[in-house]
């Protein structure tokens, strides 16, 4: 299990849990449900937001919010 914020660009994983109920609710309705596959696609400079590919669109969230998201790493297929 890894924190989303710590993943390198290009890493693929599976959504596990979000340790903040307010944030969880907001991300759930955007399609970040447990088990959903994600990929880190970009990181903004100066510790800015992280962009992830989820359900075939790109979602951006702040780095400290990404610290609250647990992701299970997936091997490249």
């Amino acid at each position: 299990m890894q924190k989303l914020a710590n993943l390198a660009i290009g890493t693929k994983g599976e959504m596990r849990s979000i340790s903040d109920s307010d944030l969880e609710q907001k991300l759930l309705e955007m399609g970040c449900t447990p088990g959903e596959k994600i990929e880190v696609v970009r990181k903004a400079p100066f510790g800015g937001p992280v962009a992830i590919l989820v359900s075939s669109y790109v979602l951006t969230i702040r780095k400290e919010d990404a610290m609250k998201i647990d992701v299970k790493l997936l091997k490249d297929d």
Partner: protein
């Protein structure tokens, strides 16, 4: 026979092509108000559906769900969940981006569960095909139990089939819910229905989750007790329901959508983003785009502006000769035409500015700018999303302040609202242009238009001061609320030109007619104030100069000074003298408190009263002499001081009204008015004292 009137609501995720579909439905038959007293959040339009059905189309703000995260989404929730709302639709059209079906269907199924008549408009099927995504429309329709129509909003394809489907949906029978919440929370929903007195399972569930649905008096206490009794924690219930709903959606997606390998499009977006979100080049590109924008606004619009200026001069001469001599002639030529000409001339610049901003937003570039600036803007108490209001503030603060609604944190939103009017809006453009043309030579500097460069410096002053003020406010405004930045980064799109053109037409219309009305009224009042004086002062002046050389010129100047307008100007002159302004500018300052652009019309009117030569306003002002020195009145010191005053002062009733509306308190517009006024006075004072 009277036609049947129906109401259609358009809802969908942001970036799904909602506005394009709205334009396809209504063409130019749209009603959008940007000024106080008119509903702003709802765009409505008319469309003919068949020989006996007319539809009112309501364009709702983009939303991802019926659990609002921002004010924008709240508006959508309130219209859709309140069957007593005047805009409660007969049929709701959910527009979905076929490349983003999973997330789009989430909102759709929520609306289905509210027991509404729903049609799904599946947009961007062509792009989905390129991405390797094939949607089986018939199967999808069957699985969801509603009509699904594939459309291409941009190419206006499928619109007739969609209209047909909407008409069919009018008399639909109630169907079973997509996700039956009464089965997930057994015994609870029925009881909640009883408490609310409304038989709507999903609306009751939303209420139970502490969603504030408008139009109902809820018995919060009874609902809370109900939650307690069944050990339901609203947030957990909402999360549980969301996960179940997505599970059900995933089943449908699995059976109706085939995914192949993506081709082209995604790769294109990725490659462009390598440059536009690059840690270094990304910022360079952003600044270059802004730089180009201001160069273009200044130099491209020069030609049409000259044309308009010439036209108005000709029109004034023609009118002056065609009408019988006398008071009315003077009122029309020197009052109305002079004031109006001063304003129409700026239409080209405003059109270019709005076109650029619409272009940057529609391509998807603004989302990238938000992404690379979030961290920087947060440092000064703003949010990555603030960049959109700030940049649109360069066009007009009124819609810009409204677009701050997408910021979910109250503190960040409030700071954005408070500083957005510091961005140099299009109403300041006429003032800047007029003064720059007088004090800055039309030369090239390092290959760039020097006047354009100076203009850009003034835009930068606006931006920098907005950032500094935001930083100060960050420490003054207290808030415990958490701030979020959760934003979709859409694929790049070629903007829909029709949509861009509609935006321009709409904004220019608002500028010309709404501002034009004030300007004509002010021009007429001013003409009266400057053409009459108390008692017999005018006669005395005429007697005094009778027979002397240059009598006409002296009479005109003295008359203006003695007039009512002159008296008002003279009264405030001591206060503005340290800024380098005389009583004539004083009059203009007062009149432009209604709206900044009135300044140009006022100057034009004041300086043409008593002047028989019809000239363009720029020539007229260039020829104004300083009464003490005999040299040109508009020295660089006066010009810079005047521009700084306009850069900072809050001279816009509409903005103050919209700030009141958005913050729901007079405290904020008052603070804004005061701090901007102080900033304006001090900076003009310092600039004039140093430069003169």
């Amino acid at each position: 026979m009277t036609k049947r009137q129906i109401k259609i609501a358009l809802a969908g995720n942001p970036n799904s092509g909602k506005t394009t579909l709205f334009n396809a439905f209504t063409g130019l038959k749209q009603k959008v108000g940007n000024y106080p007293g008119i509903t702003v959040e709802k765009k409505t339009g008319k469309s003919t559906f068949s020989a006996d059905i007319d539809a009112k189309i309501i364009d709702l703000p983009g939303a991802y769900s019926l659990f609002p995260k921002s004010l924008d989404e709240e508006v959508s929730q309130q219209v859709l969940c309140n069957n007593t709302d005047e805009d409660y639709p007969n049929v709701t059209v959910i527009i979905a981006d076929a490349t983003n079906l999973r997330r789009s269907i989430f909102l759709l199924t929520q609306v289905i569960d509210l027991n509404m008549n729903v049609v799904l408009a599946l947009n961007m099927v062509d792009i989905a095909t390129k991405k390797g995504i094939i949607v089986n429309v018939d199967l999808l329709s069957e699985a969801l139990g509603i009509q699904v129509v594939a459309i291409n909003a941009r190419k206006r394809k499928g619109i007739d089939s969609l209209k047909e489907a909407i008409v069919n949906a009018l008399d639909e029978k109630p169907r079973k819910p997509f996700l039956d919440v009464s089965k997930i929370f057994k015994g609870v929903i029925e009881r909640a229905n009883e408490i609310r007195g409304i038989e709507n399972n999903y609306a009751s569930f939303l209420s139970l989750c502490k969603q504030k649905l408008s139009g109902e008096v809820i018995n919060r206490c009874a609902l809370n007790q109900l939650c307690k009794k069944h050990e339901i924690i609203p947030e957990r219930a909402q999360a549980k329901e969301t996960v179940k709903r997505y599970k059900a959606i995933d089943k449908i997606i699995l059976s109706t959508v085939k995914k192949g390998a993506p081709v082209g499009r995604y790769q294109f977006t990725k490659r462009v983003d390598d440059l536009l979100i690059h840690p270094v080049l990304g910022y360079v590109v952003f600044l270059s785009i802004l730089f180009l924008l201001f160069q273009a606004v200044f130099s491209w619009s020069a030609y049409p502006m000259e044309l308009i200026d010439g036209l108005f001069t000709d029109l004034s001469i023609w009118t002056a000769n065609a009408m019988p001599q006398g008071m009315l002639n003077d009122l029309v030529v020197n009052g109305i035409l002079a004031g109006l000409g001063g304003i129409v001339i700026f239409v080209p610049q405003i059109a270019f500015l709005f076109a650029f901003i619409a272009f940057l937003e529609d391509t998807g570039y603004m989302a990238r700018v938000s992404f690379i600036t979030d961290k920087l803007l947060r440092g000064v108490g703003l949010n990555g999303r603030s960049i959109i209001p700030l940049l649109s503030g360069a066009a007009c603060a009124v819609p810009a302040i409204m677009s701050a609604r997408t910021i979910s944190s109250w503190k960040e939103r409030l700071i954005t609202i408070m500083v957005t009017p510091l961005m140099s809006c299009s109403a300041r453009l006429p003032v800047y242009t007029l003064i720059i043309a007088m004090i800055i030579p039309a030369e090239d500097f390092l290959g760039f238009n020097l006047q354009g460069l100076v203009l850009m410096i003034f835009y930068l002053i606006g931006f920098v001061s907005a950032i500094v003020v935001a930083y100060l406010m960050k420490f003054i405004i207290k808030s415990q609320e958490r701030s979020y930045y959760i934003m979709e980064m859409p694929s790049y799109k070629i903007p829909d030109w029709k949509t861009v053109i509609y935006t321009i037409v709409e904004k220019v219309k608002v500028f010309l007619f709404d501002a034009g009305k004030i300007i004509i009224a002010v021009s007429i009042v001013l003409w009266f104030l400057s053409s009459f004086a108390p008692g017999n002062k005018f006669e005395k002046i005429e007697q005094q100069w009778a027979g002397k050389s240059d009598a006409e010129m002296h009479i005109a100047a003295d008359k203006l000074e003695a007039s009512y307008a002159g008296m008002i100007g003279k009264t405030i002159e001591p206060a503005i003298k340290p800024l380098g302004f005389d009583w004539k500018i004083g009059i203009s300052l007062i009149t432009s408190f209604a709206a900044r652009e009135v300044f140009v019309g006022t100057m034009s009117t004041i300086y043409s009263v008593g002047d028989d030569n019809i000239q363009s306003i720029q020539e007229r002002l260039k020829n104004v002499k300083n009464q003490d020195t005999g040299k040109a009145f508009f020295t660089p010191a006066v010009g810079v001081s005047l521009m700084l005053f306009y850069a900072f002062a809050m001279q816009c009733m509409s903005t103050l009204a919209i700030v009141y509306r958005e913050t729901k308190h007079w405290k904020w517009p008052t603070i804004q008015f005061l701090y901007m006024g102080v900033l304006a006075y001090l900076s003009s004072f310092i600039a004039y004292q140093i430069l003169s």
